[in-house]
Amino acid sequence: MKSKLNIWLLVSFLIAGMLSLWLYIKLTHYVGDISYDSAIDSPEFKVCGEYRTSQYYQTGTYYQGGKKAIKKQLWSKVNADGLPPNGLFTVRFVVNCHGETGLFRATMTDPDVKRIEVPQETSKHFADLISGLEGWVPGKIQGEPLDSYIQIVFKVENGNITDIF
């Protein structure tokens, strides 16, 4: 009887503990989160807070002049060298509370919206170009500027970039 009670206690404790750990991991993770990676990220870029980084649509992060201004500033500098000939090239990154950008991550999808690989040097090249954009207005919640994620999409058709949004 005593050993049965001990087994019940031990098993229920272990399951409850693992369940709590699993819940903690799930609750603290969000779709699209980016963690600092010393191999690719600039050590100079810092997020402002320990809090969770929001999404641009939750905080109203924007670029002065809107997407048209982004397109205008990047248009003459970008080309599709190094990218697959067709698809969407998406660069997601963080705009911190000072309007600085970092933690760039690039992905590409083909016209059927399936993931395709992009060379790391190409992704780095686009990250450098986006770093040159200096009109970011950080998102705010209750008047307080904070860090947020945002993305820029490059549309590639027949080996040319045909749209930026």
């Binding site: 229920s12 404790f13 409850a16 969000y30 699209g32 919206v113």
Partner: protein, 158 residues
């Protein structure tokens, strides 16, 4: 003292067991609509995605759960994953999800041809209704798709 220790053990084991049961009920056993609402309420959170994963596994024909699971991926730029789930939702229930997929292809992917194909397919399924994908008139959205394709004239007959 032994008795006291035994009582403590029983109380603790009972608490752990009830906790496990409650979590299991919330995640696995309560009605699917309730779980859908909880998961949709914390959109993008890892727990939300885990709940949709369980729903998709338990109810493989429940298209709403696939649709809702896709939303945060598409909003956050992971179109490959987002469209994987959204396409599945459309396969299960095209009438319910074609309009939203067309809207996403139009506004998020700017794939005008593919967006138009979804709008046209939806329109053909509902000949007596002017559809409103994501709250916008389908003919306006079709016009926008033609505009995106550079076809500015000859498409005003909807």
């Amino acid at each position: 003292m032994k008795m006291f220790l035994k009582i403590i053990k029983i109380i603790l084991a009972s608490l752990f067991t009830v906790y496990i049961g409650l979590v299991a009920y919330e995640l696995v056993f309560q009605p699917k609509e309730k779980r859908f609402n909880i998961a949709a309420g914390v959109q993008g959170n890892g727990l939300s995605q885990a709940m949709f994963e369980i729903l998709n596994w338990q109810h493989p024909k429940y298209s709403e759960a696939f649709f809702e699971r896709s939303v945060p991926f598409n909003k956050n730029g992971d179109y490959a994953t987002g469209f994987y789930y959204l396409n599945h939702a459309v396969e299960l229930n095209p009438l319910e999800h074609l309009g939203y997929r067309g809207y996403m292809k139009l506004r998020f992917l700017r794939n005008y041809k593919a967006a138009l194909a979804d709008f046209d397919r939806l329109d053909a399924m509902t000949p007596d209704v002017v559809d409103a994908p994501w709250g916008e008139d389908i003919d306006f959205l079709r016009g926008e798709a033609y505009y995106g394709m550079g076809k500015y004239a000859g498409h005003t007959l909807f």
